[in-house]
Symmetry: C2
Subunit: 247 residues, 2 copies
């Protein structure tokens, strides 16, 4: 059994993810917003790397058929329907809708996973459900931290450590860990995965400086949605409803 954590997308080589089950983590905030949107009934989400690509895809669908979502420098993009605050992704706004989303880090990391066998989107909100799916399928998972532009982000690393800790607790045995997994486990133990962690991390401080401090508390909520978003053919959908199947 093998568990690898990559602390930044820059660690990946073309072969790193081949055939693996990958969980992409961008807890502040793209992963959290995606989980919240799907929980609130969004039909699917197309993560794209650039604003231009988002507009092009929206035009292909018909501009009125989709919601444009995302951020640059933490703030909503002009002409877009939604920013990247998970609090905006309410049932009233997103139920039944297709979203096209572009964010600085999360959607970029997702675009690097094309060689993986399966790709899930993980956040603290759906930690339990993702771990249950990994354990159910005997996966040797890769936890991929989106990081912050090219840089390491403390909050993704510590949250990856919490995922790793839960996976190892649910499926005890002889786990081979890469150096990133050893580090992430230690960072989770040391910093926790709550608002205190987010306020130390540069990504969290930027969000506070942008006037969006409430987002931190929202993103720290743990095990509140028993759903597993899966990225397939450049589109994120619910894998299956797991409500009632997890302990």
């Amino acid at each position: 059994m093998r568990l690898d954590v990559y602390l930044t997308p820059g660690e990946l080589t073309p072969a790193t993810l081949t055939g693996r089950t990958v969980v992409v983590l961008d807890v502040l905030r793209a992963s959290t917003s995606i989980v919240e949107a799907l929980s609130a009934g969004a039909k699917s989400i197309f993560p794209v790397a650039s604003i231009e690509e988002a507009l092009r895809l929206a035009n292909n669908f018909g501009r009125d058929e989709v919601l444009l979502a995302g951020e640059r420098r933490c703030l909503p993009i002009e002409g877009f329907d939604l920013g990247n605050s998970p609090t905006e992704y309410t049932r009233e706004r997103v139920a039944g809708k297709i979203l096209v989303m572009t964010t600085t880090n999360g959607t970029a990391a997702m675009s690097l996973t094309t060689s993986a066998a399966r790709v899930f989107i993980g956040s603290m909100l759906n930690l339990r459900a993702v771990v249950a799916e990994l354990v159910r399928t005997d996966s040797d998972p890769v936890l991929l931290c989106a990081g912050r532009e090219t840089h390491f982000s403390l909050e993704d690393a510590a949250c990856a450590g919490e995922f790793a800790s839960r996976i190892m607790a649910e499926r005890p045995g002889d786990w081979a860990l890469n150096d990133g997994a050893h580090a992430a486990l230690t960072l989770a133990r040391s910093f926790g995965t709550g608002v205190d962690l987010f306020e130390i991390a540069a990504g969290g401080r930027s969000i506070v400086e942008a006037g969006l401090a409430d987002d931190l508390e929202f993103c720290a909520r743990t095990d509140v949605h028993d759903i597993v978003p899966v990225l397939q053919e450049r589109n994120i959908k619910l894998l299956q409803p797991l409500i009632g199947t997890t302990s």
Copy 2:
């Protein structure tokens, strides 16, 4: 006062190091070998990225004028004079000599520092001397971990944390830390910087598997050489003898 740790060279953008004082850390083993070689009287060391470049440079000098040094997959390179075990860099072998060195990670990281104001080579062996020089010159240092190919390496991160901890202790004040520095400090506290750490890390395990387990103990020795190797114009020399000037 600002202290940044970059956990992999992949975190760097062209602007990251501009004008900064950088310490390159590849404790297993390139940094350690360089410190050991200069302590043993080597005149200077040219770190180069490839075997071809090493051979070309050696021919320019005249093959008999230099020692070729380095490793691939932990092991000595055919036709080279020295491997990358710091134990090989004895006074008998290297005193008065120019070395041309190529290693998998350390020399590659060094090649990325051209925009920095000053570049030092750090290892556990010369931690005290490097920290003293950073403190003496009121530097806002960058600690650059060489990592392992593109991957994060636990031993460089923990040793960077020990450097950070010592810098902050010697120059108390209000330090702004990036996320990598927060992580490194925690990893140093949790894993230490000794043989136990090296035996957990993938890089250390590879060295043991290559039959070079003694190198781990050698690389863990702390504050045994009061020298600061400086990289300037693609050449590493002693900055100055600091013996007797540090506490």
